[in-house]
């Protein structure tokens, strides 16, 4: 799992705190670690969720921002796993991605839908000295689009099971129509694109507006842009919409 730029594990002036991985006797050469201690200077920085999990995905530590996004207190979240937050399929897919990155020994990235928002998630190996066990250090930031200035997204993985909030009310087809509408396609264009009648597409749009409580298409566009839905390629969003249907049928 390569990254766009090498992430050095050590600089000339390493951060002075107890958890620096270089102090760990177990640190393996060539492996890049991160720990809450290294993140500490940025704690409280807006829009960045940071979490440390053990290999069974139990939360060892998280920042206030992550707790706030989950609607809980940090103390309540400690010891909980992904399975407590989401369905088994969703938790399993995310866990598998994290363990794959851990095995690579290098930081890795994937994008996912969490609470209707597109997040870019970066995973490091957790410095074992931090909590006395192996694990992952995870940073999550909202990502409305791929970096237009040319960040290589080739090595960025995709979580196909979405974690939906308001969007959970929409059907698979409605999620697709939402995407095309936000992209600026006319009703007729969408109808041709998904091989349905214009009338059907109109009904889908009316249903989306009704469920989301919107009066205007422009509101829909803003919703989709702000949540990063248009940051996904069309093929990615179709896969995500399809997995949503799976989850619902099962429940």
């Amino acid at each position: 799992m390569a990254t766009a730029a090498p992430i050095p594990s050590k600089g000339p002036n390493p951060p002075h705190h107890a958890n620096h991985p270089d102090e760990s006797p177990d640190a393996q050469p060539g492996v890049v670690y991160c720990s809450p201690g290294m993140f500490a200077p940025f704690n409280g920085y807006p829009g960045v969720c940071a979490i440390a999990r053990d290999m069974r995905m139990h939360i060892l530590w998280c920042n206030d921002e992550y707790a706030r996004m989950c609607g809980k207190r940090v103390e309540e979240l400690k010891g909980t796993t992904l399975h407590d937050l989401m369905t088994k399929e969703m938790a399993d897919e995310r866990r598998d991605h994290m363990l794959e990155i851990w095995n690579s020994g290098r930081p890795g990235r994937y994008v996912q839908v969490w609470q209707d928002h597109r997040y870019l998630t970066t995973v490091w190996r957790l410095a074992p000295v931090s909590f006395g066990c192996d694990g992952v250090f995870v940073l999550m930031t909202r990502s409305t689009m791929n970096q237009m200035s040319g960040l290589d997204m080739v090595d960025v993985g995709l979580i196909t099971t979405p974690h939906l909030d308001l969007l959970g009310k929409l059907s698979r087809r409605e999620l697709e129509v939402l995407y095309h509408t936000a992209m600026g396609m006319s009703t007729e264009d969408i109808a041709k694109h998904i091989h349905r009648a214009s009338k059907t597409v109109e009904n889908h749009i009316a249903s989306i507006m009704d469920k989301m409580g919107y009066q205007r298409r422009t509101e829909l566009v803003r919703f989709a842009v702000e949540r990063g839905i248009l940051g996904f390629a069309e093929s990615e969003w179709s896969r995500i919409a399809a997995r949503k249907a799976d989850g619902r049928e099962r429940s």
Binding site: P12, P14, F39, D64, R142, T218, R222
Partner: protein, 238 residues
């Protein structure tokens, strides 16, 4: 002055590139270090990429070299005010047509052997996610740094904002005390200059750049100050 207006309650009061090192290569986050005369001491790749140059080319350059004098001066003043508080601080600005939150720390003097500022720029879409910052009192630099938007007139910038908020031409006309015909002309001109095909594209552009995240009075002020900043052609003539 009231320091709460710009300070962030984050643990580190001093920052250096080394402390940022684990996050270097983290996308969408520009990080840089400048000395007190705003000469660039260090920047990450993302900043170089956003400016459109390599980090080596940028070393030693000042803010005045990448934006108009007024715009640079305002940012330098804010940076100095924040450094004087002794705490990390933040402000919003328009840079390259986009809304950014700019956070400023005191630079660890050990890092480059001089005083300076450590700066992190992140795109801001208007969501209030943390309570470590008093968003209501955070300043907005009044001089925008426009790229493509520079082609638009002050009035067109205002119409762009209202249209992106979802207002109809009729509603925009009422808000601006202009006729619908005038507003429609503005919209046609915006679409022509920016090469928008349809209203949805306009909304996408403005939303993705965080323009609708500004309060109305903030954007009106930015649009008005657009005229204050000389463009490149005028600059050489005077």
């Amino acid at each position: 002055m009231d320091h709460r207006a710009m300070t962030m309650r984050v643990p580190a009061r001093v920052m250096s590139p080394e402390m940022f090192a684990p996050f270097d290569g983290y996308p969408l986050v520009c990080a840089l270090a400048r000395d007190l005369r705003t000469r660039l001491l260090w920047c990450n790749e993302e900043y170089g990429r956003t400016v459109g140059r390599t980090c080596e080319q940028l070393l030693g350059t000042t803010l005045e070299e990448i934006m108009a004098v007024e715009a640079a001066r305002e940012r330098i003043d804010l940076m100095m005010q924040i450094l004087e508080t002794g705490y990390p601080g933040a402000y919003f600005q328009v840079w390259n047509d986009r809304r950014y939150m700019t956070a400023v720390w005191r630079l660890d003097p050990a890092a480059f052997g001089c005083e300076g500022a450590f700066i992190i720029l992140t795109r801001a879409f208007g969501e209030r996610e943390v309570d470590t910052i008093d968003y209501d009192h955070l300043k907005v630099t009044s001089t925008p740094h426009f790229d493509k938007l520079d082609k638009l007139t002050r009035r067109e910038l205002e119409v762009l904002y209202y249209a992106a908020l979802g207002m109809t031409s009729d509603e925009v006309a009422q808000r601006l005390f202009r006729s619908i015909k005038t507003v429609e002309n503005h919209l046609a001109s915006i679409s022509h200059k920016m090469d928008f095909k349809g209203r949805a594209e306009l909304v996408r552009f403005a939303t993705a750049r965080g323009i609708v995240a500004f309060a109305e009075h903030e954007w009106i002020k930015l649009a008005a100050n657009k005229r204050a900043a000389p463009d490149a052609s005028e600059g050489s003539a005077t």
